[in-house]
C-alpha cells in the first residue's frame, strides 16, 4: 500500500490496465443489455448508441414474455444450476476431506484420478453419456443434466478444496475427536466453515459454465418441459431470420440470476483469492 503511494505513475499504470480490462470484459454485456431495449432498426443502424426516445422499444421483452414458457425455462435453469452446484460442493468437499485427512493406500492415485477430469473435457464422452441416459430412461429429464454437471464440476472442486483442507489445523480436528465429535460433525461443523472462501471460489467457477451451457441441454434434454434458458433463447435464432430483440432480451434476463448468485458468493470469493496475501 505505502509503496504505491511512492510511485503514483506505477499505480496509475496498474489502474489503467485494470480499467481497460474491465471495459473489454464488460463490453459484450453492455452491448447486449443496451440493445435489448432498442427497436430492431436501431440495433442494426446504431449498435453502440444508448436507447433514445425514438429508438427505445420493449418489443424484445414483450416477445419473451408472450412466449410464455420463459418462466419455466428460467426455473429449469435455476433448478439445474442450484442442484448441480449443491452436489458438486457437497461431494467435492467430502472427497476432498477424505483425500486430505485420511491416510490410506492409493490416496495419491485416487487424488490424481479425481483431478484428471480437469484436463479431459466431459464433452468428449457425449455419445457414451447419451447412450447411458437413454438406457436409464433419463433423457429429457432435468436429472440427466444435474448428473452430468455434477460430474463435470467435481474434478476442479476436489482439486481446489483438498488443497485448502490440508491447511486446516490438525489440532482443531483432533480436539474435536477427543471431545467426541463424529467425523461427520468435524467435517460439517469445523472444517467446512473454515474453507468457506474456497467453497465460494469453486461455486462461482462451477456455476457459470453450467448456467451458460447449451451443449448438454440440447442433446440430453431438448424437450419443451426441460429446456433451460440458454436453450430456450435459441428459438429466436432461426436459420434465415433471427428475432434479435427477443434474443437480446432473453440473454439480458439470463444474466440476472447468475449476477445475484455471484454477488452472494463474491464476498467470500474475494476473501479466498486474497487469503494469505493479506494476513
Amino acid at each position: 500500500m505505502s509503496r504505491t503511494r511512492h510511485f503514483p505513475a506505477r499505480a496509475f499504470a496498474a489502474h489503467a490496465v485494470l480499467i481497460v480490462w474491465t471495459l473489454i470484459a464488460l463490453f459484450p454485456v453492455f452491448v447486449t443489455v443496451v440493445n435489448s431495449f432498442k427497436s430492431k432498426r436501431a440495433i442494426f443502424t446504431q449498435p453502440l448508441a444508448l436507447p433514445g426516445p425514438e429508438t427505445f422499444d420493449l418489443v424484445g421483452y414483450q416477445t419473451v414474455a408472450a412466449q410464455g414458457d420463459f418462466v419455466a425455462y428460467f426455473q429449469n435453469s435455476l433448478v439445474v444450476t442450484c442442484l448441480s452446484l449443491f452436489f458438486v460442493l457437497l461431494f467435492g468437499a467430502m472427497a476432498a476431506f477424505a483425500l486430505s485427512e485420511y491416510r490410506f493406500r492409493g490416496n495419491m492415485l485416487m487424488g490424481l484420478y479425481l483431478a484428471l477430469g480437469i484436463m479431459i473435457p466431459i464433452r468428449l464422452g457425449t455419445v457414451a453419456i447419451l447412450q447411458m441416459m437413454v438406457a436409464t430412461g433419463l433423457v429429457n429429464t432435468l436429472a440427466a443434466l444435474i448428473l452430468v454437471y455434477t460430474a463435470q464440476g467435481l474434478p476442479l472442486a476436489v482439486f481446489i478444496l483438498s488443497e485448502f483442507m490440508r491447511s486446516v489445523s490438525d489440532d482443531l480436528k483432533n480436539a474435536g475427536r477427543i471431545d467426541g465429535l463424529s467425523e461427520y460433525r468435524i467435517f460439517f461443523q469445523l472444517v467446512l466453515p473454515l474453507v468457506r472462501p474456497a467453497m465460494a471460489t469453486v461455486a462461482v467457477f462451477t456455476m457459470i459454465p453450467i448456467w451458460n451451457d447449451l451443449w448438454f441441454p440440447l442433446i440430453l434434454a431438448p424437450s419443451e418441459a426441460t429446456k433451460t434458458i440458454t436453450l430456450g433463447s435459441q428459438v429466436f435464432l432461426g436459420q434465415f431470420v433471427s428475432n434479435w430483440n427477443a434474443v437480446l432480451a432473453a440473454l439480458s434476463l439470463a444474466i440476472l440470476p447468475v449476477l445475484v448468485l455471484y454477488l452472494i458468493f463474491s464476498r467470500q470469493l474475494i476473501r479466498g483469492i486474497t487469503a494469505g496475501a493479506v494476513k
Binding site: 489445523s169 489440532d171 482443531l172 483432533n174 480436539a175 474435536g176 475427536r177 477427543i178 471431545d179 467426541g180 465429535l181 461443523q189 469445523l190 466453515p193 473454515l194
Partner: protein, 332 residues
C-alpha cells in the same frame, strides 16, 4: 485413578520408525514430562496415548483397562494443544462444555462443570466471548479449561506454552503446577523448554529418535545422566565434553557442567582464550576456546569482566566429572 502403562509401543509412518518400542509406566497423579530434540517423536507418542494415531504394535492401558483400540473420546483423556485449537464458531462456554454435551450429560451438570473450571482459571468474565475475541494467553487458559471440565483420568499437554510470550509463559506454568496440585490428576506434558521440564516434572522422559534414553526425576537426570545425550540435553547451558586422553584420564569423554569450571593460573590448568562473554546480571557466561577440547562454556555467578581474546587457565574438581565411554554410555 489415572495409571498409564505403555508396553512395546511402536509407530511407523510408511517405512519410517518414528516410535521404536517405548515402555513406560506413569503413576497415578504423576506429572510426567517428555523432552527431546525436535522431530524425536514427542508429539507422536502423545497422539498415540490420546488415540489420535493408532500404534503399529504394542499395548496401552489406563487404570488396567486396555485402551489400545479405543477411540479418543472413550479413553477418558483430555488434551491441550500448542495452537489452542478452540472451536472458532463456539463461545468460550460452549467450547468448554462441548465434550460433556457430546457425552450426553444433563444441561445443569455441564453448566456447573463449566462454571467450576472457569472459576479455577478466572475465565468467568469471558464465558460469552468467541475465541477470536480473546488474547493468546486467554485462549490457552480456555483450552486448559476445556480439558479440566471433562475431569479426565489423564491430561495431555503438547507444548502448551510455546506460543506465549516469556512473562505469560511463567504465569501459565505456575498455573499449571497449581492445577496439578489441586486436581491431583495424572499429567503428561511435552516440551522442549528445559525450565518447564525441570520445574514442572515429577519425572522426565528423555526421548531421542523415537527411543527412551532415560527416565528419572529432574535432579536424578541432572546429577546422574546415563549417557552423553541426556547429559548434554538436561542442563542449560549444555554440559562441556572434554577429551579424557588430553587430561590423562582413562575414559573416552569427560563431562563437566559449566558451573564446575573454575579459573586458575599456574601449571595443570587448561589453557584457553576467551572468545565471547554474555553478562546476564545474575550470572556471567564465558565462552572459551581451547586447543584440545574446542569451545567450552563457563558459568560464573554475579558480574565479571573478561577481555575477549585474553588467555585464561581453567580447571575443575575431579569428583564433579562425568565419565563416558566411546559409545557415549556413562562409566560409573
Amino acid at each position: 485413578m489415572g495409571q498409564l502403562t505403555l508396553s512395546g509401543v511402536t509407530k511407523k509412518f510408511g517405512p519410517v520408525d518414528v516410535i521404536q518400542g517405548v515402555d513406560l509406566a506413569v503413576a497415578d497423579g504423576e506429572f510426567c514430562v517428555f523432552v527431546g530434540p525436535s522431530g524425536c517423536g514427542k508429539s507422536t507418542l502423545l497422539k498415540l496415548i490420546a488415540g489420535l494415531e493408532s500404534a503399529t504394535a504394542g499395548r496401552l492401558t489406563l487404570d488396567g483397562r486396555d485402551i489400545t483400540n479405543l477411540p479418543p473420546a472413550k479413553r477418558e483423556i483430555a488434551m491441550v494443544f500448542q495452537s489452542y485449537a478452540l472451536y472458532p464458531h463456539l463461545t468460550v462456554r460452549d467450547n468448554m462444555g462441548l465434550a460433556l454435551r457430546q457425552a450426553g450429560r444433563p444441561k445443569a451438570e455441564v453448566r456447573a462443570a463449566t462454571d467450576r473450571a472457569a472459576a479455577m482459571l478466572s475465565l468467568d468474565t469471558l464465558l460469552d466471548r468467541r475465541p477470536a475475541e480473546l488474547s493468546g494467553g486467554q485462549r490457552q487458559r480456555v483450552a486448559i479449561g476445556r480439558a479440566i471440565v471433562r475431569r479426565p483420568k489423564l491430561f495431555l499437554f503438547d507444548e502448551p506454552l510455546s506460543n506465549l510470550d516469556a512473562a505469560l509463559r511463567v504465569n501459565t506454568r505456575i498455573e499449571i503446577a497449581k492445577l496439578h496440585r489441586e486436581l491431583g490428576a495424572t499429567m503428561i506434558y511435552v516440551t522442549h523448554d528445559q525450565v518447564e521440564a525441570m520445574t514442572l516434572a515429577d519425572r522426565i522422559v528423555v526421548l531421542r529418535a523415537g527411543k527412551v534414553e532415560q527416565i528419572g526425576a529432574p535432579m536424578e537426570l541432572y546429577n546422574d545422566p546415563a549417557n552423553t545425550f541426556v547429559a548434554g540435553f538436561i542442563g542449560s547451558p549444555r554440559m562441556n565434553f572434554l577429551k579424557s586422553a588430553a587430561l590423562g584420564m582413562s575414559s573416552h569423554t569427560a563431562g563437566v557442567r559449566p558451573e564446575q569450571l573454575q579459573f586458575v593460573e599456574g601449571p595443570g590448568a587448561i589453557r584457553s582464550t576467551v572468545s565471547h562473554v554474555e553478562r546476564l546480571g545474575g550470572e556471567t557466561l564465558v565462552y572459551l576456546h581451547t586447543a584440545d577440547h574446542g569451545l567450552l562454556t563457563a558459568r560464573l555467578f554475579g558480574e565479571h569482566d573478561f577481555a575477549v581474546g585474553s588467555e585464561r587457565g581453567i580447571t575443575f574438581a575431579p569428583d564433579r566429572v562425568f565419565h563416558f565411554d566411546e559409545a557415549g554410555h556413562r562409566l560409573r
